[in-house]
Amino acid sequence: MATTTTLAPGTTGYERSWVLDWLTTVDHKKIGVLYIVNAFAFFFFAGLLALVVRTELAVPGLQFVDQSTFNQAFTMHGTLMIFLFIVPVFSGFANYVVPLMLGAPDMAFPRINALSFWMLPLGGLLIVSGYLVGGAAAGGWTGYAPLTGVQFSPGDGTDLWIMGLAVVGTASILGSVNFLTTIFKMRAPGMTLYRMPIFVWTVMVTQALILLATPVITAALIALFIDRNYGGSFFDPSVGGDPILWQHLFWFFGHPEVYIVILPALGVVSEILPVFSRKPLFGYRAFVWATIAIGLLSFSVWAHHMFTTGVVFLPFFTFMTALIAIPTGVKMFNWLATLWRGSLVFTTAMLFALGVISMFLIGGISGVMLAAAPVDFHLQDTYFVVAHLHYVFFGGAAMGVFASAYYWFPKMTGRRLNETLGKIHFGMLLVGFNAAFFVQHSLGIQGMPRRIADYAADAGWTEMNLISTAGAFLIAFSMVPFVVNVVTTLLNGEKVGDDPWEGNTLEWATTSPPPTYNFDRLPPIRSERPVFDLRHKHEPNLHPEANP
């Protein structure tokens, strides 16, 4: 189904050493690719650390690593997965496609864009360099004080962790200024807010959350750094400080962070489902407002992570948390209605999108369970939480990353990833993922605490831990067909036209890959599906809602 749109411009450009070209580029598409490659490097490293943790837990006893190595492994795994993989990887896809989707030539501030990218590997290396100076940070990715104070975490690893996170945080603040300005000011004529693709809407809300939540964690990190290095006492109760303050500041950022991670994935799903159902997204405007509602609510629920501290008003935070289930339910309903009676095409991208929906559903249900304070008192800090967070972060967000990769690869390279290898990747990942994490729900209910390196042989947890570890290895092996697929496709994959999926949104109206400054001409933008309109010029508008 290789089709070429009539508006494809000729490629332009001039020759330079390609290394220099990539190092100095300010083109949003190249910066997007740099983001994605960098994020995947950290993904693989953090994945290896997860295998270290899982291998140690496969059977009772301490046989593979010692306690301190174990603590470093899960801390660095969590930190890198969140701050250097899942958030930046979506910044990468957004960098690539948002200007295209808006019909813009580039981001609003191209040079700041390059700066915010290059700060990322710098911050990431600072965090990881703890391993070179006698031990990386080991206080968990949540960095709870006083666990991360000098008393319990001496050594430079934790200071490097703080500095690295501050650099990464500053980078993402600059990035969010850039994204929001681009979305506000760089839309092509005719691209009204209500005609923006849903992915752009989710990026917009995500970046607003980054803009407002990240500075708070930066302030908290600075306070921790002052405590550790200059004799400060923010979190030291013996001289009037307050350790719970860390938790408030952390979770005021940490809960919005969950939506920073998941919203772009939900956005990708909302682009993919209509394309491969050959139907418009059901309830576009409801979807937009549900996204905005989730963004606003996410700032009012942070204390549901702190029920057991005894200092929070339980009914309020339980209620607000349960409220978030409503806009999320709206999205689920809209997706199902989009699929309903569609002529479904099960490409790999579509399979991953369906994977996101079903795994995120499980993660959402366990989340609602945890949000009920009485239940949380039993499950806090058990493997139930680990299961829940992986269903959201991995089953939801990281599956969304793979959906994006398969969906946009032809746009970025002009070549389509092999579908057979893609489906093998999907199958192995889905089975491995559920084997690794589903059993953790019952481990948690049976009381296995998170962040332990060892457990008693007679606790009855051995079998399920073994299954979980086997699942983790299956996940790791599922990366083999993926990497092979990417490499062989880059070398000599099937060449497809500019619009292989028969897409709806503007990125499909230019060449693959697009030229510098993206477009020669733009099709008229009269709905949220301009390329669909272009392809079906003579048919009646199937989606009058977007054309009031």
């Binding site: 300005t181 990240t214 500075p215 302030a219 004799g231 510098t516």
Partner: protein, 194 residues
């Protein structure tokens, strides 16, 4: 390339000012976080809140009040700088930029002098920690503004701004006013409400 000019939205707020306003909103949250540490520490503090025992009380004279007035004045002179270039008067622009820059430097010098008279340090209890962190980070932001003003002054010296093209001057002025507002909040919290 042969294509048409990049499509940018015309009219409305200029792109750099939108960027600056967004950046300032993140700075509001940053100082919000720092203020939260102050009020949280104060609320959970058992003894009498204030400088640690042995250190003198905080006084608004001779230094803090005057430098507050100086910083407020610098916001006015900055405003005049923007007004001047809005009329195309680049001579006045340079004048008011230099005055603003000077007032900013006087503020910083005053703050450093004040630190030497306080008689307590950052590690003297939680009061010392929050006091120096809040005022210190504000000082760092003033310093950032001073750097911005210096760049503007240099560019103004080369005649780079005109009545139609001076969006950088406006962007820095937004930032400068913001830093000023934060100081007023800090001065009120630390010195007036004590």
């Amino acid at each position: 390339m042969s294509a048409q000019a990049p499509t940018r939205r015309q009219g409305g707020f200029p792109i750099p000012l939108v960027g600056m306003l967004l950046f300032i909103s993140s700075e509001v949250m940053f100082f919000g976080g720092l203020f939260a540490t102050y009020f949280s520490a104060r609320a959970s503090f058992a003894g009498a809140w204030g400088p640690p025992p042995g250190a003198p009380e905080l006084e608004i004279l001779p230094v803090p009040l005057p430098i507050t007035l100086i910083l407020l004045t610098s916001s006015i002179t900055m405003h005049w700088a923007v007004r001047a270039i809005g009329r195309g008067d680049s001579g006045r622009l340079r004048l008011w930029l230099v005055v603003t820059l000077g007032l900013g430097l006087v503020f910083l010098a005053g703050q450093i002098y004040d630190y030497t008279t306080l008689g307590f340090g950052i590690s003297d209890g939680v009061y010392g920690t929050v006091f120096y962190t809040l005022t210190g980070f504000h000082g760092a932001h003033v310093f950032g503004g001073v750097v911005g003003l210096s760049i503007l002054t240099a560019r103004a010296g080369q005649g780079q701004f005109s009545a139609r093209n001076h969006v950088a001057v406006e962007a820095v002025s937004y930032y400068w006013h913001f830093v000023d507002v934060v100081w007023v909040a800090l001065f009120t919290t630390l010195y007036l409400l004590g």
